[in-house]
């Protein structure tokens, strides 16, 4: 019996069943194991192939996922990765993302259980992007790429099956959102005029990282007319300065600006560094007081933030972040004069984690994560 075979003898860890895909999918639906779409049955053979890319104890939790606080063991994570359609070499990123979003600062408990329509967005940087074939170009946030789709879906299945984010029970989202099926993207580092996200955060360029952010779906910034950096930034600031976003409640979120490569090139060509971009957006992406309802001003802004707004006049403005550094900037996508604004859950901090070998050094390939 294999190592996995022994571990699966634990009560409730597995059961014998006919390999009838249709019947197994009905079973998964009946037991609430999934996202509503058909899954790949997590047979022990498939799970073991996934676990070949996990060099840590397979039955020891790497995290506990809120709100159920279920133990995310590599075995359970691998079962969910199989169900999502992951290739085994994707598995190290699945584990890394789960670890990142279970850090306290991320506030996964709030993000999972809230009535808000957010989901953990996974941003991948470094050499692993090319190695796994993650899409960072045209339609990078849409369908068509197995790595993006399956890794993102594996995360969601783990949040459902291990974390208990069951709609109407552990997940109280008023609407939910399509991003709750899969939300994984890679940065287009080659097309960025700025340092990529992981380098900005102190990691070497040759490190592979996952950054997670509790975010809404992206909202497009269509600007085919501005031919200056300040013009594009003004249009982005205008899109971001909206009344209904959680970031306009000063919760401490990190609004994400996703630049299309063409917009980024125009802004950078006019001399804007990333820090300059963030400073501009902090100063200009502010919501005029007059855009809020009278009730909202009285009941939230003046009541919750009296030191700032109790005596504020109608010319006051509400920033969407606490400081310029809290804005996040990445470059994604292909040709086209578009960027996107992605509001956050508000009370959450993004977390970046690097892929590391057992000896603590940065892994240059997922092959280094193989179990020996």
């Amino acid at each position: 019996m294999s190592d996995l075979g022994v571990l699966l003898q634990t009560a409730g860890a597995s059961f014998e069943v006919d390999e009838d895909h249709e019947a197994l999918n009905r079973l998964c639906m009946e037991r609430g194991w999934g996202d509503g779409l058909p899954v790949v049955p997590p047979s022990s053979e498939r799970v073991e192939r996934m676990l070949a890319y996990c060099d840590r104890p397979w039955d020891q939790p790497v995290a506990r996922i809120a709100p159920r606080w279920g133990e995310a063991t590599p075995i359970r994570l691998a079962a969910n990765a199989v169900m999502a359609g992951c290739l085994p070499q994707y598995f190290p990123l699945v584990v890394l993302a789960i670890e990142a979003m279970c850090e306290e600062a991320f506030n996964l408990y709030g993000i999972q259980a809230t009535t808000h329509l957010c989901a953990p967005l996974m941003i991948v940087n470094g050499p692993v992007v090319a190695e796994l074939g993650l899409n960072f170009g045209h339609n990078a946030m849409g369908p068509g790429c197995q790595a993006n789709a399956a890794i993102g879906r594996a995360i969601r299945l783990a949040l459902l099956n291990i974390g208990g984010a069951i709609p109407g029970a552990g997940d109280m989202a008023t609407f939910g959102a399509p991003i709750k099926f899969s939300y994984c993207v890679a940065e287009n580092e080659a097309a960025s005029p700025w340092e990529p996200l992981h380098v900005e955060r102190g990691f070497p360029a040759e490190a592979s990282t996952v950054t997670v952010l509790g975010a809404e779906a992206p909202h497009n910034v269509n600007d085919h007319e501005s031919i200056s950096g300040v013009g594009i930034l003004k249009m982005i600031a205008g899109t971001a300065a909206i009344t209904g976003s959680n970031d306009a409640t000063l919760g401490g979120g990190q609004p994400l600006i996703i630049f299309g490569p063409e917009h980024a090139a125009t802004v950078a060509a006019d001399g804007y560094s990333k820090a300059d971009v963030k400073r501009y957006l902090f100063e200009h992406a502010q919501v005029p007081f007059t855009h809020f309802s009278d009730e909202y001003i009285e009941r939230r802004l003046k009541t919750r933030f009296p030191e700032r707004f109790a005596a504020a006049g109608l010319n006051a403005r509400v920033p969407i972040a606490k400081c310029a550094e809290d804005f996040m900037v990445i470059v994604v996508g292909g040709a086209g004069k578009h960027s996107a604004f992605t509001p956050t859950f508000g009370t959450t901090r993004s977390v970046t984690r690097a892929l590391k070998r057992r000896d603590g050094e940065y892994a240059s390939s997922v092959e280094e994560m193989r179990r020996i």
């Binding site: 597995s14 059961f15 390999e19 049955p41 996922i65 159920r68 279920g70 709030g110 299945l157 291990i162």
Partner: protein, 96 residues
């Protein structure tokens, strides 16, 4: 005929609740009621109605009412400890 496979369960069970250190016998003077307001906009109004209703229906000896600092984070440990010390049962509610 299908071959048999070992199906790996993808689900984690809920963490077992910690056993109660002691049974909570209700005092003859009535129930010590705890209220945990989740800080949503109308939670205080809803909970006030609940307290009023319970006081009319049950022998409520005391009410300890606490408010989470924010709706989007779990209640801090000291708040839960206070409720555990000062209440026989707790009503927690959200109300947007």
């Amino acid at each position: 005929m299908y071959r048999k496979i070992t199906f790996v369960v993808p689900e984690a069970p809920a963490q077992a609740a910690a056993p109660l250190a002691a049974q909570r016998a209700l005092g003859k003077h009535g129930i010590r009621l705890g209220i945990l307001d989740n800080h949503k906009g109308n939670a205080d109004h809803l909970l006030a109605m609940i307290v009023e209703g319970l006081q009319g229906a049950l022998p409520i000896a005391s009410v300890v009412s606490l408010r989470k600092p924010t709706a989007v984070l779990a209640a801090p440990a000291d708040m839960l400890d206070q409720l555990a010390q000062e209440a026989d049962c707790v009503v927690s509610a959200m109300a947007d």
